[in-house]
């Protein structure tokens, strides 16, 4: 690497510096838009005690679910954790600490974290278990709770295209949490389908500017579909 060139060629380089007990923010919604190879690398490294921030925790044999059998995750902050038997077992037995967080609040926590905003008020969750222990305040007669931002030592994201400078473009609904996660990692690693030269991506159409991205690696994606739903022609 030199100058603004963020490209690395091995997964060891991509995840170098990840150690036990770190916080990792992961992009993806369900199995859509997840950094498959970076997750596999974390499994290979056997890093333990991780706090993972992600909308979901994959399924039993794919996505972040791969980090469960070896008990690599200590705590997860997510909005929806169904469809995963091992996850449920670890949650019920208390081996896994789960902080259920509303989806929009989770997105905003990462956005705020990346934008240097320590906390924000939201009506979401007021009067529910989510509000427990949080400061409440009224604005214009409406009730809000104070939610704190999230940042992490690492962010792992999946993009469609990157240039060598780390500018990212996502595709369709595989964008989801990736742009917010990318801003909130101290080291942000993007696994992408295609890497092009600087200047080849239209600056008007870049979703994540390279300033947020530290490393880029080209991956090969399975892109597993959770709910294959079709209509007849």
């Amino acid at each position: 690497m030199a100058g603004f060139d963020k490209v690395v060629t091995t997964y060891e380089q991509a995840m170098a510096g990840l150690t036990d007990n770190m916080t990792v923010l992961a992009g993806g919604f369900g199995l859509c838009g997840i950094p498959e190879g970076l997750i596999a690398q974390i499994k290979k490294m056997q890093t333990k005690g991780l706090t993972v921030v992600s909308n979901n925790c994959g399924v039993d044999d794919f996505g972040l679910g791969l980090l469960l059998p070896d008990r690599q995750i200590k705590k997860i902050i997510a909005s929806y954790v169904g469809e995963n038997a091992e996850f449920e077992r670890q949650m019920m037995s208390g081996e896994l600490d789960v902080e259920l967080t509303p989806q929009g609040t989770l997105a905003e926590k990462m956005r705020a974290g990346g934008a240097g905003i320590p906390a924000f008020f939201t009506a979401t969750g007021y009067g529910t278990p989510v509000a427990e222990g949080k400061e409440e305040r009224q604005f214009n007669g409406k009730n809000y709770i104070l939610e704190e931002a999230i940042t992490g030592e690492f962010a792992i994201v999946k993009a469609w295209k990157a240039d060598r400078y780390g500018n990212l473009v996502y595709r369709h609904t595989a964008r989801n949490f990736n742009p917010m996660a990318a801003t909130a990692g101290k080291i942000t690693v993007a696994e992408v389908e295609e890497i092009v030269e600087p200047g080849e991506l239209d600056p008007n159409e870049i979703h994540t500017p390279g300033i947020y991205v530290n490393r880029v690696i080209k991956g090969n994606f399975e892109k597993r579909i959770e709910q294959r739903t079709v209509r007849q022609k």
Binding site: F29, G30, L31, C32, G33, N55, A78, S79, Y80, V81, G82, E88, M91, V98, L100, P102, Q103, G104, T105, L106, A107, E108, M110, R111, T122, A123, T124, G125, Y126, G127, T128, P129, V130, N143, W160, Y170, R171, H172, T173, A174, R175, N176, F177, N178, P179, M180, H207, K223, R224, I225, E226, Q227, R228, T229, V230, R231, Q232, K233
Partner: protein, 219 residues
């Protein structure tokens, strides 16, 4: 006769207005898309980051990068737009969605809703439901009026952990269309062939019944 799932969707669809941006929850709400009245246009918002959700794809059209909030493969309608999750919930929280339709386990006379957790039994998480009920002004809850064992889901006070406090004003069940105001349920319509007495019997929270309760009509 209690409404079928299809009829519930049909009745909700009658509330759609031309030009509405609509978020449909998983389950019965999803079926509403099949009954958009002729001559009106609505655009469906899927909170994972799509405005302008189209039909399910054909086998050839399937794209792993294009799914809805239920993680099902979908297509985009003409004029669709794509965005990230923060933007998606800015739309929702900011009150830009005209109608939200979602399911629930319980609703009470204060407009509280419980829909995401049964302690010790079902702990899957709230997904976007808490944001949706907190941000939307116009919400219709669809659910069965009572459990299989005849236990009312329209209560004086919710027993399960809340998804939102004081945010529900309209509930459509398989038996009745009900409005919530001033701490009471108000019976607006009944399902065809369902008597007012049946509805009173299965409504635990205080229910105001007007002299005339029209039957729902389905074209």
């Amino acid at each position: 006769m209690a409404l079928t799932r299809e009829q519930l969707a049909q009745r909700v669809a009658q509330e759609l207005k031309d030009g509405y941006y609509v978020n449909l929850g998983i389950g019965i709400p999803t079926l509403v898309a099949n009954y958009v009245p002729e001559g009106i246009e609505v655009m469906l918002q899927s909170e994972n980051g799509l405005l302008g959700m189209g039909a399910f794809p054909t086998e050839e059209e399937i794209d792993a990068d294009l799914i809805n909030a239920g993680k099902q493969t979908v297509t985009m309608s003409k004029g669709a737009s794509l965005f990230d999750s923060a933007e998606s919930f800015a739309m929702i929280r900011g009150g830009h969605v005209d109608l939200t339709v979602l399911g629930a386990f319980e609703v009470d006379v204060q407009g509280n809703i419980a829909s995401y957790m049964i302690p010790g039994k079902l702990i899957k998480g709230m997904g976007g439901a808490m944001d949706l009920v907190a941000g939307a002004d116009n919400i219709i809850v669809t659910m069965t009026h009572a459990s299989k064992h005849g236990v009312s889901k329209l209560l004086s006070q919710c027993t399960l952990p809340l998804t939102g406090k004081g945010c529900i004003k309209k509930v459509l069940t398989d038996l009745a269309f009900i409005e919530i105001k001033a701490g009471k349920f108000h019976l607006l319509e009944r399902a065809p062939g369902v008597s007012v007495e049946q509805i009173i019997e299965l409504t635990e929270g205080e229910l105001v019944v007007p002299d005339v309760v029209p039957e729902m009509s389905f074209a």
